[in-house]
């Protein structure tokens, strides 16, 4: 966990919303952070979790260099970048 950085900042995210077999599937495509556009190359896992009564969707994504953890608050419709983790070589 040497390359782990906690961030916890709101970020603008472009995401697609497509209809799955049971529900709408949200997939983050890119975000802007520190003035840079970061394009995601793979979505590892998405999973929901609750914070009290709030539902938050967690997305583990990567741009090929760094893994990011994004959270999408289903009530406020806000994205938050929780952490980044540079991939060890």
């Amino acid at each position: 966990m040497d390359n782990y950085v906690a961030i916890q900042k709101r970020v603008p995210v472009v995401a697609t919303f497509s209809m799955g077999s049971e529900r709408v599937i949200c997939t983050p495509v890119k975000m802007r952070y520190n003035g840079q556009e970061i394009i995601f190359t793979e979505l590892g896992l998405r999973h929901p979790t609750s914070k009290g009564k709030r539902m938050v969707h967690v997305f583990d994504v990567t741009d090929g260099q760094t893994d990011y953890r994004l959270e999408f608050d289903a009530a406020s419709l806000r994205w938050e970048l929780i952490s980044a983790w540079e991939v060890p070589s």
């Binding site: 590892g44 896992l45 979790t49 009290g52 009564k53 893994d67």
Partner: protein, 418 residues
């Protein structure tokens, strides 16, 4: 008892996610795939590996090893802390997939479960269980991710299904029935059988049983009277032959929590917040199960290797955090106070269905119960520990949530606390 092998067509399927926590983390972080990965509850220089990826296991690292031990065997080992909501999501997905084939499923732990197909074969058009097994493997990949794998075992009873699921890891699928049972046993050691570890092996060896086949040939009387000295021997006689011996329902007997101290000390300013937090989470478990307790055990392991415990059965039942802590403290104050504590735990026993809905004649009791209900309601809405005891705050910071390996009955509760 004299039973032949069970010749029934297999109707039990055991599904086991491979190295569950590590695999889910590798699914979430593509760059960890194919690399040695360890999962621990709290990262520290000597933390314990509670899960390892297959790549780490291939180097000889084993679950239960300390970080330095595992790292020495698996160079480049990456260690992550547990992330329960992720594993719960995988668990929920697995359970949902299993339920789509039969209403009779049992989740044995966070990463394994059983589908009982008795009575439901018609509904699945009498498809073979192997065909359903391959479908489940594919659905797991489709719904969770391409890195997810599972072992599947098919057999006439739970024991053989679990044995079959462990024959070809990772991503295997095997069937054991009366036609190949002896061949399978012939290829295994006693300790390869689920439920047989060194202790039972020694008992069996003492009775002249050294292989699974000899275990199978032993009579029910031998196993009951000379090996296990109880009805446990008859259960083994049945399960080895493919007859069901493991479908009994168990009742909740005790509820508790324990903690290995982050600092070995006899300083109450450090110990009591941790004890208070343990009492608080024990109270949450009691209320989650809708039970009250009458007895409390408080125990401590000391830095010099000695142990201490005190237990007491009370006249009245209790389930509020205040009452648990008050009673635990009564007992805890009788410990040898000069001893430095290395581990600490509390257990509530003599559990009965809760009488929370009944109003007491004593107003002080009612107030304590209403306060607990109000706090629980607030915490359910805004997140657990939004309202908590000031004295337990320090404990909350250091006592980390654990992953329940043995059962899944507290999972919903744990998620609230995640």
């Amino acid at each position: 008892m004299n039973l032949s092998l069970n010749t029934e067509e297999p109707n039990i399927m055991h599904i086991d996610l491979n190295s569950c926590f590590a695999t889910v983390e590798q699914q979430a972080r593509p760059h960890l795939r194919g690399k040695p990965l360890g999962i621990t509850n709290r990262i520290s220089p000597h933390c314990c590996m509670i899960a390892l990826s297959y790549e780490a296991k291939a180097h000889g690292a084993k679950v239960g090893m300390s970080y330095p031990e595992a790292k020495a065997l698996a160079p480049g080992l990456v260690v992550l802390e547990t992330d329960p909501p992720k594993y719960h999501y995988a668990y929920q997905k697995l359970a949902a997939i299993m339920k789509s084939y039969s209403p009779n499923i049992t989740m044995k732990s966070i990463d394994e479960g059983i589908i009982d197909f008795h009575g439901t074969r018609q509904a699945i058009h009498r498809r073979s269980l192997e065909s359903i097994g391959y479908e489940i493997k594919q659905r797991l990949k489709d719904e969770l991710g391409s890195w997810m794998r599972c072992n599947i075992g098919i057999a006439p009873n739970r024991f053989l299904a679990k044995l079959a699921a462990g024959l070809h890891k990772p991503d295997g699928m095997d069937r054991i029935d009366s036609t190949n049972l002896r061949d399978i046993y012939d290829s295994l050691k006693l300790t390869d059988l689920p439920g047989i570890a060194e202790h039972y092996q020694a008992r069996l060896n003492a009775s002249g049983i050294f292989t699974p086949l000899e275990f199978l040939e032993a009579t029910s009387d031998t196993l009951r009277r000379f090996v296990f000295h109880s009805v446990v021997g008859e259960d083994w006689y049945r399960r080895l032959r493919g007859w069901e011996a493991d479908d009994a329902k168990t009742n909740l007997g005790i509820v508790g929590r324990q903690f290995v101290m982050d600092t070995r000390t006899n300083d109450e300013a450090i110990i009591l917040p941790r004890l208070h937090y343990l009492c608080q989470t024990t109270g949450m478990k009691l209320r989650f199960n809708g039970v009250s307790a009458r007895g409390v055990i408080v125990w401590a392991g000391f830095a010099n290797g000695e142990g201490w415990y005190q237990r007491k059965m009370f006249k009245t039942t209790f389930y509020t955090d205040q009452e648990i802590y008050r009673r635990a403290l009564l007992l805890f104050n009788t410990r040898p106070k000069h001893m430095k504590i290395a581990s600490l735990g509390i257990t509530c026993y003599q559990l009965n269905p809760s009488t929370r809905s009944q109003v007491s004649l004593l107003d002080t009791i009612n107030k304590a119960e209403w306060l607990t209900q109000a706090v629980d309601t607030i915490n359910d809405r805004y997140g657990t520990f939004t309202v908590t005891y000031a004295n337990a705050l320090e404990g909350k910071k250091v006592v980390k949530q654990k992953i329940p390996f043995g059962g899944t009955k507290y999972f919903e509760l744990l998620l609230k606390r995640a």
